[in-house]
Symmetry: D2
Subunit: 356 residues, 4 copies
Amino acid sequence: PRAREAGVAPGIYQPGPLNAITDVSGVQVGHVSLIEGDDIRTGVTAILPHGDNLYQNKVPAGYAQGNGYGKMMGTTQVIELGELETPVLLTNTLSVPEAAAGTIEWTLAQPGNEQVRSVNAVVGETNDGRINNIRLRAIKPEHAIEAINQAVSGPVEEGSIGAGMGTVNFGWKGGVGTSSRVLPDENGGFTVGVLVQTNYGGELHIMGVPINAEALNTAAARVAQEASPDGSVMIIIATDAPLSDRNLERLAKRSFLGLGRTGSAMSNGSGDYALAFSTAESVRRTTARRAMLSRIADWPNGEMTPLFQAAVEATEEAVYNALFKASDVRGVNAERYPQLPVSAALQILRDRRAIE
Amino acid sequence: PRAREAGVAPGIYQPGPLNAITDVSGVQVGHVSLIEGDDIRTGVTAILPHGDNLYQNKVPAGYAQGNGYGKMMGTTQVIELGELETPVLLTNTLSVPEAAAGTIEWTLAQPGNEQVRSVNAVVGETNDGRINNIRLRAIKPEHAIEAINQAVSGPVEEGSIGAGMGTVNFGWKGGVGTSSRVLPDENGGFTVGVLVQTNYGGELHIMGVPINAEALNTAAARVAQEASPDGSVMIIIATDAPLSDRNLERLAKRSFLGLGRTGSAMSNGSGDYALAFSTAESVRRTTARRAMLSRIADWPNGEMTPLFQAAVEATEEAVYNALFKASDVRGVNAERYPQLPVSAALQILRDRRAIE
Amino acid sequence: PRAREAGVAPGIYQPGPLNAITDVSGVQVGHVSLIEGDDIRTGVTAILPHGDNLYQNKVPAGYAQGNGYGKMMGTTQVIELGELETPVLLTNTLSVPEAAAGTIEWTLAQPGNEQVRSVNAVVGETNDGRINNIRLRAIKPEHAIEAINQAVSGPVEEGSIGAGMGTVNFGWKGGVGTSSRVLPDENGGFTVGVLVQTNYGGELHIMGVPINAEALNTAAARVAQEASPDGSVMIIIATDAPLSDRNLERLAKRSFLGLGRTGSAMSNGSGDYALAFSTAESVRRTTARRAMLSRIADWPNGEMTPLFQAAVEATEEAVYNALFKASDVRGVNAERYPQLPVSAALQILRDRRAIE
Amino acid sequence: PRAREAGVAPGIYQPGPLNAITDVSGVQVGHVSLIEGDDIRTGVTAILPHGDNLYQNKVPAGYAQGNGYGKMMGTTQVIELGELETPVLLTNTLSVPEAAAGTIEWTLAQPGNEQVRSVNAVVGETNDGRINNIRLRAIKPEHAIEAINQAVSGPVEEGSIGAGMGTVNFGWKGGVGTSSRVLPDENGGFTVGVLVQTNYGGELHIMGVPINAEALNTAAARVAQEASPDGSVMIIIATDAPLSDRNLERLAKRSFLGLGRTGSAMSNGSGDYALAFSTAESVRRTTARRAMLSRIADWPNGEMTPLFQAAVEATEEAVYNALFKASDVRGVNAERYPQLPVSAALQILRDRRAIE
């Protein structure tokens, strides 16, 4: 089940209809998963802020770095210009170049981009080398292009898929997870959606309850007990609130609090990055607006707190979804990375009255 | 009781003997509290990294900003030079200048500083204006000097004292809290100590359990329910690990994860700052070392994770201590800011089996 | 003479009518100078973005740090919220607290601010301790208030006045300088004004020509030859272009290039800070706009380059004005800090055909 | 001629024997240039901090961003960990992925790296799309590997070669340039070497003298006059001074002042990045040092200024070398990008007595 279906519903705000990043209107997600032989277990996930020409109609964006032991690409331009001009791609650590190459090629090929000679591909990654033979660098540019082309609105597949195929989270199988929050009308009624690629560690907590591997009392728990806290997590945040790039950066930064609630201490060996963008037409950097003085919408600083709270909650729940929807995967050394024993974990939560 | 005495003991590491920032050898803390008439309820707290001449024997330091709606002073030089050359002072928002003036005067007056013409006073603050008539700016430079002079090693007084006199935390009376962690020998055996001045809000959680004001079912809860999430928190972190300024900055950043575990989303109106310093003699920037090539100790990146975990845990527990040790204070409009109903809260935690 | 009157006119754009920061409509500047006995030579300079209630009608602002060995106060909130809510005060290093106290008191006392309980005073400094007995900390809050109250639009007094009273620049007497640039209509027709407080060193260049102290062949040159490159410089930039806080931060950053052209390498002991704000009504953060969704003007990234060039040029010329308008001052040890021998310097420039 | 051979010798310090980044002992540089048909004019340049296994024996490094409209890759990990673990590659904007792929493959293949599963490739770029048909993305991973393999110590080829093949600088043909400075013994006797890839614009100044295109009075000047200030510049700085990563970051930042002296205002469309590393064995992050407490050398803050001055000077001169050593190249639209008319420019400098 997804976490919420099992009663795991952190926070004070309600999710949107899909409880996914795609609750933010216009956002599209596509996955490509690679499973080959015994040792290729990897993939690519693409997130598109909108379905129009992204390069010509850029979206304001903000970036935050929890811990930077990672290879995320494209950050310097996002910081400088406060905008995103391509899909966001997620993949494995050693395949960032190929995902970037695919993003560039796809962008150059879009109608209207015939004269484009500069593309800032934004690519995040986590290291799936425990499960995937990452040194083979199996991802090719066409996989990235395919992920972009497959991107759709609607429900998002979670778990061991796309960029989440080979990830490990708190010693259990990790993956892609997503969640959303809708603010009350008095707070603007905006939607905040989060998608995570979880490959990090620490001391797993669900709904504030420590889920010690040994307590789960399964054979699988042995693997998780010895897990390194290292790894990484990518957090992509979409909102339809008309935010400045500065406030998007602040929003991105809050996601790490959600991460902390699941038990992360942002370990030294983890690349923990967050990127937030706004899909609001009223702040979109269209060709026209980028050429002259314009008037853009601005949601003020003083009204940001509910959005911050929403980002924390949705990040926390997206991680639970990644864990709950992951499937057992056999890794490169024939070592099996099991899913979190969800039933046992839920029983602990019920015993602790953390869920009903 | 302090949190741990009541069974509230978050995390996986053990505290030091005092469970205080002063478990880090050499660190001293001093408080000055001001209570005058109906409307002055404020104070100053001073933290000294060591008892020698701090200006001549600077300590490496790192700074991190969770949310910057605050007036912390002295940060630019800490960032540039990676060092601290004065005590750290905490006070109220509108009295930062007076605390800084006191710090400067005290530094100029220290033996050996007769030729000093530049002093980087580091002063943090939270806004105690709900309880204290902050516009009167009651703190004077001599209060800061007194706090410095009163600083001692040993147990640290917590709660509604010093810079915590007039603070409000999650709608309850906040204050000063402290905690520490000692790492196992295989992780270096270092101590990490944290002192917080809590004046922030959000959705209070203790040991992961939401503590809704209404659930506490007391008259006092009404005040807390309507509390603004705004406010601020100052987090001071000491360690005897021989860390570079860069790794101290990373350590400082982790403290916000501990903050998040208590329920903060780092609201727009909050000044959430962390400062970490190392007391290790092997990294101290003595007069001699600052004048020539020297060899300094360095604890490597790859061994930082346990220190990060310790900072998260000690921050979380320090917040609980601030709440548990606070006392009821009547504020400027005769409004009473009550302590968290600790017994009721503990009962919730027992009911939820979060503590024994 | 001012630099331009002597033919020293760097860059490609023209100055405004006053060739001063006050060419930006609404900007006001006030100075208070303190000369007492043999050893007090210091002062305060205040810059007001506009004449209305600054706290209620904040201006967007951006901050940049060239080298952070300085005590500038108020930066963390400017960075976080992208706005300025007080006048900007400049003074000496050890008097930042008093200038801040004055700024806070002045702000609290403004009509309409009766409920204000939080004020982010922004205060910059340079160290005038070579001329002024800085340890006496002669500046009091009332001097800051007086500087604010004396602030007017119109021509700005330059040289050894206000916060520039006791400064030293490349071994010569430094001070306050100002300059401006007006962009062509096709670049928006905006004005960029700069005010500097110069107390830094390096290898003095004017119009790209090295001005070696010995070449000036005066008794005064001996002092300058032995000057330390340390010191500091504060650079305040005003514009009427409707810029986002991010683009104001970028604008601020460019001023260091102007500094570099005068011969600075941003020495270790220098506090080199820049703050830029926009006075455009269309981006002002009025009480109304801070409370709800609004539409604000935005000058796009792609049109920023002429503004950047203007900031570089105006900074360079403002430094020349500070040097050219400074007067000889006798310092604390009866040591005389002479003005740059302007006639001799101009002769060098003419010999080098750098000016006519 | 190289600039200095023609008398163009900015600054106060002397260059090393090669006046190149390779004056820093151990540093190696390799170029691969691609010229195919009428429209491929591009290349790759590799800089190696030392000849041992770079991944196992990392070097401390610091990063600075002048203007971030660029695609530099690998910066987040350099910032977080303060170290470099691969060669630094430079290429064109749209070929960053291929250069990164080559860097990763080369690193994985090095003896001793058989277990490596994470590689932080550091790749910079400028946009050679005015001369090169950049959309064809002609660079392949093998070109990057070849550049690394060809890297040697000794003299560095400059001008229209490697990553400088297709660049344009102030409207003239740009390219790769290099220079160095050796500090006097009393300042440590260290060497600072700089290599630039110049593709930026502005108002060209040489030795502080404006070199207006029209003044050069050649047919070629017409092209330069209409040149966009956009473009980019990569600045790589090596030193044998035993600096912390923080001081390397500060060193990197100074290079922009050298850039400013040549006439840059860091235009909106420019990616202006600097990366500095130390080759000193006493700060090298060897496998042993990365695993336990060690003692590393530290050159103190207070002695940094001469190094800063050296970085400014060497950057300025490296740009002149890139211009002086460039050759005419015919670009993608059969448009010729001419070299700066060096003789005419030198005549201006002599007329202005800027050189002898």
